[in-house]
């Protein structure tokens, strides 16, 4: 009988130890998921296209949407950039009912966002750069960057997303053209 109790106590000990371990594993896995995920937005985009290339996120362009749960009344496009190579300039001429822009870091966190009311004349012209690059640019601001919105982001790799509202079907060609004319370029300085 005594040996039975002893065995039970050891079993209980093992189970408790296991539960404690489960807690540790839970925290470890939770913190490691963002590091090792191959399904995050960056990985999905990098499978679809190269750096500095505008990629449609909605299903309208054909195929499954690259990034899920985009509002069905919106079109969205994204490009990946690497500030380690230099600052990046995003332009989209033309007017649509509403556009908004977000800058995300490598792991998909929203760092900065603005919409068409922020921009000069409602035209999308933005430059993303690191604080160090900003200091260089401030010294001698080029003529054609005067009207641009500067987004200072303390990151290297990131994602730039433009979303545009499509109120009804008649706006679809206009918004599609807005995206086709958009550009995402490494800016020499």
């Amino acid at each position: 009988m005594r040996s039975f109790y002893a065995a039970m106590r050891r079993l209980l000990h093992a189970v408790l130890l296991g539960l404690l371990g489960a807690g540790i594993v839970h925290i470890a896995v939770l913190l490691l998921v963002p590091e090792f995920s191959e399904r995050d937005a960056w990985s999905r985009l990098s499978m679809a296209s190269d750096l500095y290339k505008m990629t449609r996120l909605d299903a309208e362009a054909g195929g499954a949407p690259v990034v899920k749960s985009v509002d069905p009344l919106f079109y969205a496009t994204a490009c990946r950039f690497d500030l380690g190579e230099g600052m990046v300039r995003i332009k989209a001429p033309g007017h649509v009912p509403f556009w908004s822009v977000s800058v995300y870091d490598r792991s998909g966190h929203n760092i900065y966002s603005f919409n068409d009311h922020t921009a000069t004349g409602g035209v999308l012209d933005a430059v993303v750069l690191t604080p160090a690059q900003m200091i260089d640019v401030r010294k001698d601001l080029p003529e054609d960057l005067q009207g641009a919105i500067f987004v200072e982001a303390p990151i290297e790799e990131g994602i730039f997303v433009i979303r545009a509202f499509v109120p009804d079907d008649s706006w679809k060609p206009i918004v599609s053209r807005f995206f086709e004319q958009s550009s995402c370029e490494l800016q020499d300085f």
Partner: protein, 194 residues
């Protein structure tokens, strides 16, 4: 000796299966840390920001979400009606009430993955504020169901669980201080055709 090995293995198995499984379960839940509830509507104002909690961060990484920024808008998701029942695609609902200040809003019926419900028709299962009829007091009454209805009709289709996603764009409520005295429309079940 063999008993010791068995106990060690048992501990390890509980640790790994329990730890991994609990993370998987926690990430599957729609509800979560950092949620703000207003009536039947839930929003995650912090999701996708660097200040989000670890669960939101893991969910963002696993599902490849690119969340709306504060200057863009704020999304609310409803999974239950005012009576507390789960929203069903085969049921008819009335969504009525006032909407908070925003440049415009969109409302769509969504499936489990929060993608828009496939209707198989040219009409989307979505409405937007520029295209709705308003009551004299500026409130809006929307009927959601399979069959056309007078007033504002949100087309739905199919069977199974459904979610309503209501997104406000360019809105002061996206800054967290604005969320305290916001009221959102009620979702009332009208009936079901099984």
């Amino acid at each position: 000796m063999l008993k010791n090995a068995f106990l060690t293995l048992l501990s390890l198995a509980i640790a790994i299966v329990g730890g991994g499984g609990s993370v998987w379960y926690a990430l599957k839940l729609q509800d979560g840390v950092g949620a703000i509830r207003i009536g039947q509507w839930t929003a995650f104002p912090d999701i996708g920001t660097p200040s989000a909690d670890p669960y939101s961060k893991a969910r963002v990484a696993r599902e490849g979400v690119l969340a709306l920024g504060r200057a863009e808008g704020l999304s609310f998701v409803a999974e239950r009606d005012a009576g507390g029942g789960e929203l069903k695609r085969e049921c008819t609902y009335t969504i009525e009430g006032g909407f908070p200040t925003a440049r415009f809003w969109t409302l769509y019926a969504a499936d489990q993955s929060l993608g828009v419900v496939e209707t198989g028709k040219p009409r989307l299962a979505a409405l937007q504020s520029y295209g709705v009829v308003r009551q004299p007091d500026n409130s809006v009454v929307i009927s959601a169901g399979h069959h056309p209805m007078p007033g504002n009709w949100l087309l739905t289709d199919g069977f199974g669980r459904m979610y309503f996603v209501l997104t406000f764009y360019d809105t002061p409520i996206a800054s967290s201080t604005g969320l305290s005295d916001v009221s959102l429309p009620r979702i009332v079940k009208v009936g079901c055709n099984a």
